[in-house]
């Protein structure tokens, strides 16, 4: 099998910024994304919810703009009738229940963590990311340097899903901004 080639091929995709050993922000690509979409119909929401939560190993399917993580993978509610399944493939759904789609190659997954992660993101991202307004498992569609992205705050940090074609552009902007945390 041919190997997957990342959109960030040729870049150092694991970068820590900070003074000496004190890491202010850690930006890295999580390669080989596995991402599926499951979409329901108005009258089949609960059937899709139960199918995907059993795939992910969660007790429930998350509501709008939130996420839930189970034993197998995570679920992100990205639209009123659509979920993303992160880290797992989608279950088979009969067409009267819903439809699924493989989006694993459509996004580049970048994780930003560390004490200055919010500061770095807010250089370009116009969302209030304070704990009060954007706690863990919040999900948002927003934009970063003119590029529409999906943002999920996981237990590991901020998970950015960048449309693959824009990944290099966004990565370079993030690197330029992050360099100041070395000073």
């Amino acid at each position: 099998m041919v190997n997957r080639v990342s959109a960030l091929e040729g870049h150092d995709t694991d970068c820590r910024f900070g003074i000496n050993d004190a890491i202010a922000v850690h930006v890295r690509e999580i390669p080989n994304l596995v991402l599926f979409q499951a979409a329901a119909w108005v009258d089949s929401m609960s059937a899709v919810e139960s199918a995907i939560s059993s795939s992910a190993g969660t007790n429930f399917a998350p509501g709008p703009v939130t996420a839930a993580t189970g034993t197998n993978g995570s679920l992100l509610r990205i639209e009123p009738m659509k979920w993303w399944l992160y880290g797992i493939t989608a279950p088979e759904l009969p067409e009267e229940t819903g439809v699924t789609l493989d989006l694993s190659h459509s996004r580049t997954h970048v994780r930003i963590s560390g004490p200055q992660a919010t500061t770095l993101l807010n250089r370009n991202l116009p969302l209030d990311l304070s704990e009060q307004h954007f706690p863990v498992n919040s999900v948002a569609s927003s934009s970063l340097h003119h590029v529409g992205i999906t943002l999920w705050r996981s237990e590991h940090g901020y998970e950015l899903f960048i449309p693959r074609g824009f990944a290099v552009s966004v990565w370079e902007v993030l690197m330029q901004s992050a360099a100041q945390f070395d000073v």
């Binding site: 439809v99 991202l125 340097h145 330029q176 100041q180």
Partner: protein
């Protein structure tokens, strides 16, 4: 003026000297100095030349309103012009230079303008545009054309660097409950109250240090105690940050100067940061500005505001003069007079009011201040180094009678205080004139916006603090927090009322008094504007340029309005005030663009084969945001020879082209077929699984929106491709239809443009090429995989793929799609096989040549103005079904037979060429909009001459055996052309089916 540093005091660090240069001369100051304070301490006097008359200018203030000491900072590519010396922090090695003067600000040949000032009055430009009076009246502007160049050269202040800006800038976003603008007594108090109530507070200060007017006080305890409490409460405390504008819904624009005060900043730091701050409540404690007033030569070096002398003394440890005449009309100057006297100056205080309160008089006497009530300055006399004496006068009704001369080296003025209503004015709040305090007062806003301190017209220090607490408690209450209410103190607060004073006039005498020193607007200019009918405040501003300099009227507006009111014989409110607009102080263009410069001007969109294309010799071009291969030159090939070779190869053998940029949309659900049948003009109800169909979609108004192919992958699963240009538009359109018109349809649309990478394999040897790539060669048989067929199969190396046999080039061709991360692998698989067949790679230039030869339309032809018939695709509009646009496309005008129709174009003389964009005219009428236009041109390798596509009235049938002229007056001139069918090669399509 002979300013000098005093031994003790001030906020400067005398143990840290800083060396810098002023106009090439070495100077020194201390850490904590501004350029102004350091140069004042060095005894320098003249720092600038005025805009029009080139009069010498010195320091007039200690802040952002500075109108005299405007200089250039830095050199080479880091040169900033029109920097206010009063706000520039000193750093080691700083290079300061004068501007608007030659050879220097101390001796400037341009000063000759001063002697011609009678001719350079307000409206000088406008009058000379109309001809030199009286010689050219009614005859035009011959003379103006002669000296326009000289004036253009003389105009403007300072000369910016012509090199690229080496610094970088960034944008940032912030969020808070309460934004407090200004950190003077009111701002500190407001931040304290809001933070104590548990709110998320930002305290933003434009200065390097917090404290506002407290920095001019001799004691520092109040300031430091407040700041340390705020920091303990977690308040975001920003300095060197200007709130330059207020916008809708609590949005404030902030400019943070990150490195402008450093001699060598780390290149990883941005020079400036442009903040968009969203606040639930905004408290404006931005203070007030002290006004000057007009008298003879009031612009001469050595005339400054009283508050400035206090700031220089207490903040910077500089005594601005030794023999000081302080002229005031209000209570705010007394303590400054005493402080200046105690610091060693000999001070004469002139109070325009007829009486001085006894207690005040005692204090003044005790401090050795000489004072005279009912007196003011009438005229300043300047020596070689600024002011040397003043003529003073005694009040005589509303005018003055000159009495005697007083020698002095500094004139300190206070003509009253103007609350800074600039920011609240950005929100559409119109300030109201208050005659009792002689200033424009802010009024209540309907937005969560509160004024506090002297910005609210409260003069008394304790009341300012109270107003800060009051504003914050209101904010806290509206945000649902419990606080003790504090009553907002009344405005004003002086013991004796102010005596309005805008201009000092002596009967029978003419003085040159300046209203707006930055733009050389004199009192006489205002009266001239009045005499010539420019009486509205907006006309006055534009005619005289009052308030149009870098301070945007902070200094001169009120005096100008007052003089106009006097000329009109009305009160100030009847004249009105101009609207302040952002930015409050100038901000750099670099900060506005942030990181959106150079390669990041717009985000670049790269296909997954981007690197592969580059490695294999691609020259890239932009297609919207996409980077696409333009051509793949070999050796010494030019773009022309490369694309001709590439197109020829595609027709003779096989060629590969990255077509990933096409829009791709997954259309899924039980009603997907019905949905497609409604949006496409041609029938889609019976498209079999494993087949693709070319489709056209119209807008509601019946014009063509986009074209593309849609592949049926399963019973309820389709894969649509769109043009590169319209990918997003089509996606949005489909989603809109589903969500607003047809929510009963069980269909989901999802963009998969980034999920799939595509390559076109075109040419007679394309099938042979793919035969060698697929694991099961059987799937490529013509019988099982005919033209417009679709298969899902596996390539060697185990790459899953979907292939459609479709052709944009007119040759036998396939589009092969694989998941994006596999596409470099796909190219590595295809390329050696293609090479073995003498094939090549091709880019958009050859792609264009191939499709023009075939008459295939693209974005250039489907430009939103064409009907399906215009594009020659009328047969694709089904008469048997209803689809989007099916009703309105039948409007009579859209069915006219003489509408411009798609045609092929070739030059009559095959050696000629023409350009896209040329206008097509009939032979006998080469003028106007003509009969049509050319949308795309190419050299046709197959035909051996240039061809084009375009539109012309009636189409090619109407032009049979008739010549047309392609007219292109600014580029090529006229070329005789023949109008032919757009299908210029293989019109029957036999090659595609082969």
């Amino acid at each position: 003026m002979s300013g000098h540093r005093i031994k003790n005091g001030g906020r400067i660090d005398r143990s840290k000297p800083i060396n810098f240069t002023w106009d090439g001369m070495p100077r020194s100051g201390y850490e904590g100095d501004s350029v102004a304070s350091a140069l004042m301490a060095s005894g320098d006097m003249v720092f600038g030349r005025s805009f029009k008359y080139h009069r010498p200018r010195g320091i007039m203030s200690a802040g952002v309103e500075e109108s005299g000491a405007i200089i250039s900072i830095g050199e080479g590519d880091r040169k900033d012009v029109n920097v206010k010396m009063t706000t520039q922090e000193l750093y080691q090695g700083l290079v300061a230079t004068g501007q608007n003067a030659w050879p220097s600000v101390r001796f400037d040949l341009g000063a000759i303008n001063n002697s011609m000032s009678r001719f350079l009055v307000a409206g000088f430009y406008y009058k000379t545009f109309m001809g030199l009076p009286p010689f050219e009246w009614g005859k035009g502007t011959w003379l103006w054309m002669q000296y326009e160049k000289i004036i253009r050269k003389a105009a403007g202040m300072g000369e910016s660097s012509r090199e690229a800006d080496p610094d970088h800038y960034e944008h940032a976003h912030g969020f808070c409950d309460v934004l407090v603008v200004g950190s003077g007594p009111a701002g500190l108090a407001a931040a304290q109250t809001a933070a104590r109530a548990g709110l998320n507070v930002w305290l933003v200060e434009q200065d390097a240090e917090h404290g506002g007017s407290l920095l001019a006080e001799s004691s520092d305890t109040e300031r430091t105690a407040a700041l340390s409490e705020l920091s303990d409460l977690g308040v975001t405390i920003m300095n060197r940050t200007t709130v330059f504008g207020l916008y809708d819904y609590g949005v404030a624009g902030l400019l943070e100067r990150v490195t402008d005060h450093l001699s060598s900043a780390d290149p990883r730091l941005p020079r400036q940061r442009f903040w968009t701050l969203r606040a639930k409540h905004t408290i404006l404690a931005c203070g007030s500005l002290e006004r000057h007033f007009a008298f003879g030569n009031n612009d001469c070096p050595g005339v400054m505001t009283t508050q400035a002398t206090r700031t220089y003394l207490n903040r910077y440890g500089v005594l601005a003069g030794e023999q000081i005449v302080l002229a005031t009309n209000n209570d705010s100057s007394y303590s400054t007079a005493c402080e200046l006297a105690r610091a060693g100056a000999s001070v004469t205080l002139l109070d325009a009011r007829n009486q001085i309160n006894k207690k005040v008089a005692q204090k003044l006497s005790a401090a050795n201040v000489d004072y005279r009530a009912g007196h003011t300055v009438v005229k300043a006399n300047s020596g070689a180094e600024g002011v040397s004496s003043v003529l003073i006068g005694k009040a005589n009704g509303s005018e003055w009678t000159a009495t005697d001369q007083l020698p002095c080296d500094l004139v300190a003025l206070s003509g009253g205080w103007s609350p800074l209503v600039n920011l609240i004015s950005h929100r559409g709040v119109k300030p109201v004139w208050d005659p009792s305090t002689a200033c424009f007062m802010p009024v209540d806003s309907s937005e969560p916006l509160t004024m506090a301190g002297s910005a609210a017209g409260i003069w008394n220090h304790d009341d300012c603090i109270k107003s800060g607490h009051s504003a914050a408690s209101m904010a806290a209450k509206s945000l649902g927090k419990e606080t003790t209410s504090v009553v907002m103190p009344a405005t004003g607060g002086w013991n004796s009322p102010i005596k309005p004073l805008y201009e000092v006039t002596v009967p029978g005498k003419q003085f040159k008094g300046f209203v707006d020193p930055q733009h050389d607007v004199t009192c006489e200019d205002i009266r001239l504007a009045h005499r010539e009918g420019f009486v509205s405040v907006e006309h006055l501003k534009r005619y005289t340029t009052l308030g149009m300099a870098t301070d945007q009227g902070k200094v001169g507006n009120i005096i100008g309005i007052a003089l106009m009111a006097e000329a009109l014989g009305c009160e100030i409110p009847a004249v009105g005030t101009t609207t302040f607009r952002p930015p409050y102080t100038p901000i750099s263009i670099g900060a506005l663009s942030g990181q959106s410069v150079g390669a990041h001007f717009r985000p670049l969109r790269r296909t997954p084969m981007h690197n592969w294309n580059l490695v294999n010799g691609a020259t890239m071009t932009e297609a919207g945001l996409w980077q696409r291969p333009w051509y793949f030159a070999r050796g010494v090939e030019t773009i022309s020879s490369a694309y001709i070779r590439e197109a020829t190869t595609a027709r003779k053998s096989v060629a590969l082209c990255d077509v990933t940029s096409l829009g791709k949309i997954a259309i899924q659900g039980p009603d997907a077929t019905e949905f497609l049948n409604r949006i496409y003009t041609n029938p889609f109800a019976k498209l079999p699984i494993g087949k693709a169909r070319y489709g056209i979609m119209l807008r509601d108004d019946g014009f063509v929106m986009d074209d593309g192919t849609t592949w049926r992958l399963g019973e309820s699963d389709y894969f649509m491709t769109t043009t590169t240009a319209h990918a997003a538009k089509v996606m949005v359109w489909l989603e809109e239809l589903l969500q607003t018109r047809w929510h009963d349809l069980k269909v989901h649309v999802t963009t998969v443009s980034e999920q799939w990478a595509g390559v076109a394999v075109a040419g007679p040897k394309s099938r042979d090429t793919l035969l060698e790539c697929v694991e099961d060669p059987g799937v490529m048989e013509n019988a099982v995989f005919p033209f417009m067929g679709v298969i899902e199969t596996t390539l060697k190396g185990g790459i899953p793929c979907r292939i459609a046999r479709i052709s944009f080039s007119g040759e036998m061709a396939y589009e092969v799609y694989v998941a994006s991360d596999f596409s470099p692998g796909l190219m590595d698989l295809l390329w050696p096989i293609v090479q073995s067949k003498d094939g090549c790679l091709y880019g958009t230039e050859a792609l264009g040549a191939l499709r023009i030869e075939k008459g295939h339309v693209t974005g250039a032809e489907l430009d939103g103005r064409v009907t399906i018939e215009d594009a020659g695709l009328g047969k694709m509009a089904s008469p048997n079904k209803s689809f989007i646009g099916s009703a309105l496309r039948n409007r009579p005008d859209m069915q006219r037979h003489d509408r411009p129709r798609l045609v092929g174009i070739k030059p009559v003389d095959h050696n000629f060429t023409f350009h896209a964009g040329a206008i097509l005219c009939s032979e006998d009428k080469v003028e106007g909009l003509g009969e049509g236009w050319i949308t795309g041109v190419t050299h046709s390798p197959e035909l051996g001459h240039w061809i084009g596509l375009g539109y012309i009235s009636g189409g090619h049938e109407a032009w049979y055996r008739k010549r047309a002229i392609a007219t292109d007056p600014v580029r090529k001139g006229n070329v005789e052309v023949e109008i032919i069918s757009p299908h210029m090669i293989d019109p029957s399509g036999s090659r595609m089916y082969g």
